[in-house]
Symmetry: C2
Subunit: 159 residues, 2 copies
């Protein structure tokens, strides 16, 4: 069973190369980009301007193939792929939460972008904290690593 | 440009029909399910057991077609599709955050499932609150509606 998806837009960011990119939106604080939604889908943007943050799902379009163990940017040891946010995945779908500034003629002006310029957009969902876990959260190997995520770039590993 | 995705597993839940389903994980508090990861992808599950919560991406496999304006479960008025979590979307990809209890032979035992039994799994990502927005969050039309989300089911609209 294969599923076919079509891009509904394109994400524009200052990052044309993987080198030097922030590795998560937390490290992309303030970085501005735009999300261009294709004309046919623009009526679906109504009411979106009431939300301060959006979840973007997109294709990691420069990721080819995958390995089931990877050494993540934030660690020195191979980790199971699904315990990381590495872009090379069986289904290379990326997820980022961005801040929405304004919407103009089908173009979303956003902050905190951490994806490559030209990234194909798959979906936009409203970010709603009430839908998130409110109980105690453990984050495994990332427990210590994620504390340093803000300043870290994609060529700047621990080891 | 079309993209082809393949399921990496299947999600099993108590919900065989859309009627009566919780509409978000917050309303599925405690509901148990299992995520069966296909054998070839199981080495990628290493290190996942350190995380208390996971992001599941999956296919809304019973959703056909889409409308760019929908009346959401939590409201009475048509809203722009992308300002909702409605399943009928141009790319019908679902996103839920579930609590992980244990992993046994490639099967994840999870809580807070809000998807249909037999849902095709696309991806698993670790849930890391440090990657989420920490600034003030506004949730538009959902501002009041989401406060009542926990007890609400898919056949139980406001209006």
């Amino acid at each position: 069973m294969a599923m076919q998806f079509q891009p509904i837009g394109v994400i524009h960011t200052p990052f044309s190369e993987l080198q030097g990119m922030p590795i998560q939106p937390a490290g992309a604080e303030g970085v501005r980009g735009t999300v261009e939604v294709f004309e046919e889908y623009r009526p679906g943007l109504k009411d979106l301007d009431g939300f301060s943050h959006l979840i973007l799902l997109y294709l990691f379009h420069r990721a080819e193939g995958f390995k089931l163990e990877v050494v993540p940017f934030l660690d020195c040891r191979p980790r199971g792929l699904f315990a990381t946010r590495a872009p090379k995945r069986p289904n290379p779908i990326g997820l980022s939460i961005v801040a929405l500034e304004k919407i103009e003629r089908g173009v979303l002006h956003v902050r905190n972008v951490d994806m490559l310029d030209g990234t194909p957009l798959l979906d936009i969902k409203p970010y709603v904290p009430a839908f998130d876990p409110r109980t105690e959260v453990r984050t495994g190997w990332l427990e210590k690593a994620s504390q340093g995520v803000s300043g870290r770039k994609s060529d700047d590993r621990f080891c």
